[in-house]
């Protein structure tokens, strides 16, 4: 039983898929309009949370921040003025809120304590490419490979009995623990891969072959641990969905007509892949969380590592900036999945499913 599985027994499944050319523009527009509204509201809520938390948690934020940033002597005075200005606690709350939005829309997320005095936006923008190059391949490859394999394993006794337990173990594994195991086994014991950093500390980022090679070496283990956990989950999800689909009336009907096993499976797969796509959108939060801790294990210079540093140095502006960037990334990914959904599921195009 997986998230979104209630759709597996959806009565609409019994309908014959319509030809792909059957498109009504209005329905598609409404589908995207609704999605977009939710995303805009979500961003709004996220920004509001980001603004609210330092102000409504017990204690005075400026005092708390100063107490924590105390060890950075040369920046103390500067920071105090800066914090007071940022929080602007003397103006009414609504004014503070508007100011916050105003700064945000100008790309101003504050100044980092961890790498004082760089703006938070700059610090984060340096980390983002590492995240994208790590996450996008890991998510896509694990999703495709997992689905393919799950569909392959379903209802074949031998694979089911060996792969299924393995899949459950993989998907139950905490991301950081698998990362630690891989780092320890392949990095320390067998000494094949480096286990720290995004590239060799002796290098500066450039577009040379030596750098790319070093980058790939450092990239592989974080990628592998993200891939493996995801793979297990998708394989199990797909295997379970296929079994639901093979029990559906249309499958039995096809079988009764004497359709070859492969054809029945093909139809089952097309239907089963839809909840998996919804599942991908739902799992993004968990995957991102997994990526954060994986980066911590490998000291990989992405957002996760920044968050760790932000927590250790009590750099709350950096922490809040990372939060907003994560939300933004997840929203964009969700939107991409929505677009993919329209291509995969003809029914979205004719407006039979509202969401």
């Amino acid at each position: 039983m997986k998230i979104g599985e209630e759709e597996g027994i959806h009565p609409l499944r019994l309908q014959v898929p319509r030809p792909i050319g059957y498109i009504q523009g209005g329905k598609v527009k409404r589908y995207f309009g609704r999605k977009l509204l939710i995303y805009i509201l979500t961003f709004f809520v996220a920004v509001t949370i980001d603004w609210m938390i330092p102000r409504f948690m017990p204690g005075d934020p400026v005092d708390a921040l100063m107490a924590r940033a105390g060890s950075f002597a040369e920046s103390t005075e500067l920071m105090h003025d800066y914090y007071s200005k940022i929080f602007g606690l003397d103006v009414p709350l609504w004014q503070q809120y508007l100011n916050f939005w105003n700064a945000l829309l100008h790309g101003d997320l504050g100044i980092s304590v961890y790498v004082f005095p760089l703006p938070v936006t700059t610090v984060i923008m340096r980390a983002v490419p590492f995240d994208i190059l790590l996450l996008v391949p890991a998510i896509l490859l694990s999703w495709f490979a997992g689905n393919w394999f799950g569909a392959f394993a379903a209802r074949s006794k031998r694979l089911d009995n060996t792969i299924l337990p393995l899949g459950y173990i993989l998907t139950a594994t905490p991301y950081m623990w698998l990362a630690m195991l891989l780092a320890w086994a392949l990095g320390i014991v067998f000494n094949i891969f480096p286990i720290s950093g995004g590239y060799s500390y002796a290098m500066t980022p450039s577009l040379s072959w030596a750098f790319i090679w070093s980058y790939l070496q450092h990239w592989f283990l974080p990628f592998l641990s993200l891939f493996l956990v995801g793979f297990g989950g998708w394989a199990i999800g797909m295997r379970n969905m296929i079994i639901y689909e093979l029990e559906a009336d249309y499958s039995h009907y096809l079988e009764a007509l004497g359709a070859p096993r492969r054809l029945v499976r093909k139809y089952a797969f097309r239907n089963a892949v839809l909840p998996q796509l919804t599942g991908l959108a739902l799992a993004l939060g968990v995957i991102v969380a997994g990526a954060l801790v994986t980066e911590v294990v490998f000291s990989y210079p992405g957002i996760g590592y920044l968050i760790l540093q932000a927590i250790n140095t009590r750099d709350f502006f950096l922490l809040q900036g990372c939060f907003l960037f994560i939300i933004l990334g997840v929203l964009l990914a969700n939107f991409a999945i929505d677009i993919a959904y329209v291509f995969v599921d003809p029914r979205t195009r004719i407006g039979m499913q509202g969401e």
Partner: protein
């Protein structure tokens, strides 16, 4: 009739290997959590032994590089994980039921509004929100952590329960109850909820597992309890003090094995139960 049905479920439950394996593993860890603290004389945080000692008869799981007893930390961490699972997972399920039942049964504008709320909270990554909330707390306890986890984990449960409620609410027996003048609350709890008890149990199991994982993640980043030991915190300490590079595998292997085993057992139990409750899936 009811007796027959119960017997039938028991019959299938006892023959389901997934269910048996899952429950056995869970039982093992529950027993370890209860008995474990009695087997060790050392408090989890105290510096009691030699530094970085491998497992021995004196220190079953070895010691940390500060000389803390890892077995003691492990069993106390297990307790924390179960607490987070029960409180966080339970709260997540309750909130999910509250929102799901209301939205699914009421329909109309209430449903639209709650659905919107659910979708919004669903998109925001749980961990990101927890990060910025928990980072501002001065003192963090396991109980508070569980409450926060429960408050952010409910959306998918709400969505699933709403869909189930939606399909049940137009059934004849619900109509009949409505015609007989029963109030909505009573209909939900006496007519609708009992018919999806098995489903709610599955939701709780998944929420339990999710809460354990998210707590471990949070603790690992360094936002764990400040006054107690947890499995995530053990891994955090291990990485922080170089257990990987020094090869102190007995420090970081046990907490991960425990989390994987508990969560994996929950998932397998879940599938097993699903097969027991859902006749369509039984024939395997």
């Amino acid at each position: 009739m009811i007796n027959l049905k119960k017997n039938e479920i028991l019959y299938f439950a006892l023959r389901n290997n997934k269910l048996k394996v899952g429950l056995a593993v869970l039982l093992l860890f529950v027993v370890l959590t209860i008995v474990g603290p009695l087997l060790t004389n050392y408090p989890p945080m105290d510096y009691v032994g030699p530094l970085s000692a491998p497992p021995s008869s004196e220190f079953w799981f070895g010691t940390t590089s500060f000389g803390q007893d890892i077995f003691s930390q492990f069993v106390h961490g297990l307790k924390a994980s179960f607490l987070v699972g029960i409180v966080g997972g339970g709260l997540g399920t309750l909130l999910g039921m509250l929102v799901g039942f209301t939205a699914g049964y009421r329909g109309g504008m209430v449903d639209e509004a709650l659905n919107m709320l659910t979708n919004i909270v669903l998109v925001i990554p749980t961990l990101a929100v927890l990060l910025i909330i928990v980072a501002y707390l001065e003192v963090r306890g396991i109980f508070i952590e569980s409450i926060f986890i429960g408050c952010t984990a409910w959306p998918w449960a709400a969505r699933a329960i709403r869909a189930q409620t939606f399909s049940l609410r137009s059934r004849d027996f619900v109509d009949l109850a409505r015609l007989s003048g029963m109030n909505s609350l009573k209909i939900i709890f006496t007519e609708i909820a009992p018919n999806m008890m098995s489903y709610l149990l599955l939701v709780f199991i998944l929420q339990f597992g999710g809460a354990v994982l998210i707590a471990a993640t949070l603790d690992f980043i360094g936002l764990g309890p400040t006054d107690a030991m947890s499995l995530g915190l053990m891994m955090n300490n291990a990485v922080l003090w170089g257990a990987l590079i020094l090869g102190i595998w007995w420090w970081f292997i046990p907490p991960g094995v425990a989390i994987t085993a508990i969560v994996g057992a929950l998932y397998i139990t879940n599938v097993g139960l699903d097969e027991v409750f859902n006749p369509k899936l039984r024939e395997m």
